[in-house]
């Protein structure tokens, strides 16, 4: 899947590094929830990500509703690799910015 945004790349990377839930991903990436959740749904629709609901027992034990658990699919991993390569090339093209 070509044309993923930089934000998407960050999200996919977070998932690849083992962050599973919306809140974890927000914490890891620093992106707001209004960006994270719609992006996850789009990924799921396009098959980059699969979701599963945590078990009832665990939720009941924690005294809260169930959470949704996201993980990368094979297509997601391929997209991540491809996008990472592309953005790396872009970052090389950009001149290094010297700090004042």
């Amino acid at each position: 899947m070509a044309g993923l945004s930089y934000v998407s790349l960050v999200l996919l990377q977070a998932l690849a590094q083992g962050y599973r839930f919306g809140f974890d991903i927000m914490d890891a990436t620093g992106l707001p929830s209004g960006t994270v959740y719609p992006a996850l749904r789009r990924f799921e629709q396009s098959g980059l990500v699969a979701s599963s609901w945590e078990g009832d027992d665990q939720a009941r034990r924690s005294g809260r509703p169930r959470r949704r658990n996201y993980q990368l699919t094979r297509a997601g991993r391929e997209a991540l690799d491809e996008t990472t390569a592309r953005y790396r090339a872009v970052s090389r093209l950009l001149p290094k910015r010297s700090r004042p």
Partner: protein
Amino acid sequence: MTNAPARLIVRGSARIVPKAHRARFREEWLGEIESQSDERLTARTLRHALGAPRDAIALRLDATRDGLRALAAGWATDARQTVRAFWRQPRHALTIVGCLGVGLISCVSVFSILNSLLYGEIRGIADRRSLARLSISHDRAVSTENLGTAGSVDADPLSVSDLESLERDPGPALTSLAAEGTLRVAVSLGSTTTSAIASFVSPNYFPTLGTSADIGRLLAPSDSAPDAPPVVVVGAHLWEDRLGAAPDLVGRQLFVGGRACTVVGIAPARFFGFEPGEPGSSPLDHPQIWLPLREAEHWPSAPGRDEPWLNTGGRLSAGSTIADARRSVGAAGLRRGRERPDIRANAAYVVRPHGFSLEDAPVGLLIGMAMLLLVPLTVLAVACANVANLQLARATTRAREIAVRLSIGASRGQILRLLSLETALLAVVATSTGWLGTIAVIRVVQDDFPLVIALDHRVLGFAIALVVVVTVLAGLAPAWMATRRSAAADLKHTVQGGGLPHARLRHALVIVQVAASVVLLVGSGLFVRLSHAVRTDIPPSISEQLTVAFDVGLLGDSPAETQRILGDLQARLSVDPRVRAASIERNLSGRFANPGAAMARFARVKEITAEWPAVTDARLVAGRWFDVRDDARAVVVNERLAAIVAPDAVAVGRQIVVWTSDDAAKTREIVGVIANQPRHVDDWNPSPAIYSRLGASPADKAPEPRREGDAAGAPPRLADGEPVIQQRAEAREFDLTIRTREPAAVAGDLRRLVREIDPRLPWTGFSFGPDLYAGEFDSVRTLALAVGALGALALLLAAAGLYAVMGYVVSLRQHEFGVRLAIGASARDLMALVGRLALRLSAIGLTAGVLITVPLALVFRSLLVGVTLPVFDPVAWLPVIAVLAGVTAVAALGPARRAARIDPMRVLKVE
């Protein structure tokens, strides 16, 4: 502080989320929030929760996008289904397309044709809208400032001297003038001789009209120079039909009225000059020869310099309006009055647009036109009502099909998509049919039409919009209602009957259609009766008249030869037992005045033979007819003229001064007064007429010596015209009028008779008295037939509507009819039931039609002059009522028989 605000945000956002995802959305977000906090609201939790609305909106947008995509994906399937459904059951679709097509074609064609009659471009004339008509009024009350209602102004054509005066300075709003005066002439090319109408035109005529030649050139101002060689332009129709389309005509010599002229060019086809021809008339009945106006000075029978005979027009300068032109010619009118205080003291040039102008049109004409335009609109309305009816009925029977679709999972959007596609397809096919049909009708009519017919895009747009609105509303509104009703109810409903959805609306639509058809058909019947009444009311003196026009002057014979020819002809006719009387007359135009009066008025002057009273049944109201003892001084006048010269006294014995086109001023004595003789059926105020004896000796006709008194007070002789008059040969156009009970047979023999006397004698054809008298009213008959045809169309459409309604009533009330049969009703009872309903609708429609027609006809009757419209004529009404009853019976018969054939067992079993 607890997490409650965060939960509230999530729950609130969940309301936006599509139903299918709502529960999961709520669970996921709450799960996340509550896993991260221990019931205490932190800034982080709140920030997290604020993402929920954005997520919810994204979900909603996604769902909408998916829905639209799914809906769009179904179009192709629906389109296939629609086409297949129409293909399998084409009757409904064809009926709708036919109804709307007929409505559109009749409406747009009639409007386009009428529009072109009023405003359309005339062939050979560039930009009619910047062309003005000019005439001259002698009415003191008319000034150039108050010509806003010029329609009511009594104005004459211009004379040559009027034109010359106006041409000197027409004012800034007119750039150039074009004038034409017509005469019938004999035309010879080699051994071919024919007669044609010639137009004598002013120097700037063709440049002003913007006409260009088909071959060669047209007349230029230089052709009117005094020393220019005589030239002529020939019309395309004369060239093709009478002169053998000679390829080398341009440059050859053509003898026009015995005068050799060089042909310089061929005018375009269907160009007849300033006026468009009559629709459907022969091109050869219009001008087909154009000569410089200067030629008319030497022409036998051409009117004098001061006589009104020139159709005149002016080209408006860029940016000028008719109102500007009216102001502009004001000074010219005053100047004309100063130039000729004798005959133009109160002259004012009258300017009117060349095309139709609302402000100049008499109210009667406007009302008549509005009524005429109502006819095609009525047909369109009937067609639309019919389509609405058919669509409503179809929607009722389709309720079950729609319910099935809904129950197997179709969404309301999908149902609406299917129905709108059907509706759109019908509307597109119907409007295309109407559009193509209109173009075809215009093409067919155009061939015989004098003006360029352009498709009236405004009317087409309006009609198409109306058709689309009606089709869409009628097709979609019931469908919308059907999708809102309970599917279960509909599934049961149609089988068992009970209740007739939209019944009142459908009945109302049928009533409207029947009423509209009645209005059109009775209107047509009344017109036919009117035209018939005009024909039957023609007095015998006119119905037995046969008039033949001769132009012996064209032969170039001497007056003695002319007398011999005419005498021979009359003598031969007088021995024919079928001929009661035959008279010879010569029609001139002239002026008359009381001796010493300041102003002369125009009059028709007739020179007649002694048999004329017997031919015309002219009734003497005072004095006597002239006899052989009288010389040319004795004249008889009509009542109109008598009332002018002697308003409060006896006219007989008075003297008047008369000028005619080929004569100088003469003093005449009135010896008798006859009743006004209307020339047409609506000639309710015949013009003043003077009758004198034809064949008075030339000595009688010599101009009288001038007297001293004339210069002081008597109306003027034609001071500047006199030399011209002496040059001009005596006009020799004569009418032979025959009174016979067998006009057609005599007309047939007359041709042989004339050939025996002088085969060269050019005549311009026969006219039968009734044709001349009823002339314009024959077009009423054509109009009546057109209205009748549209009325028949409307009735046909109404019949289709009635049939549809009765058919659906029967199919919806099957259950009820089954029960009725089961409890003892006979098939005949059911047929009567259906018949009664159809009859009731027709009867109400008929009553409504009568209530509309009678006031309309009464208004129309008040607009007619000279004839009475027989509003309550049973011959106009009874056939319509009979036809309506017949159509109702036919429309109801099929459905009634179907009702009678219902099998009660089958119907009841379904329950």
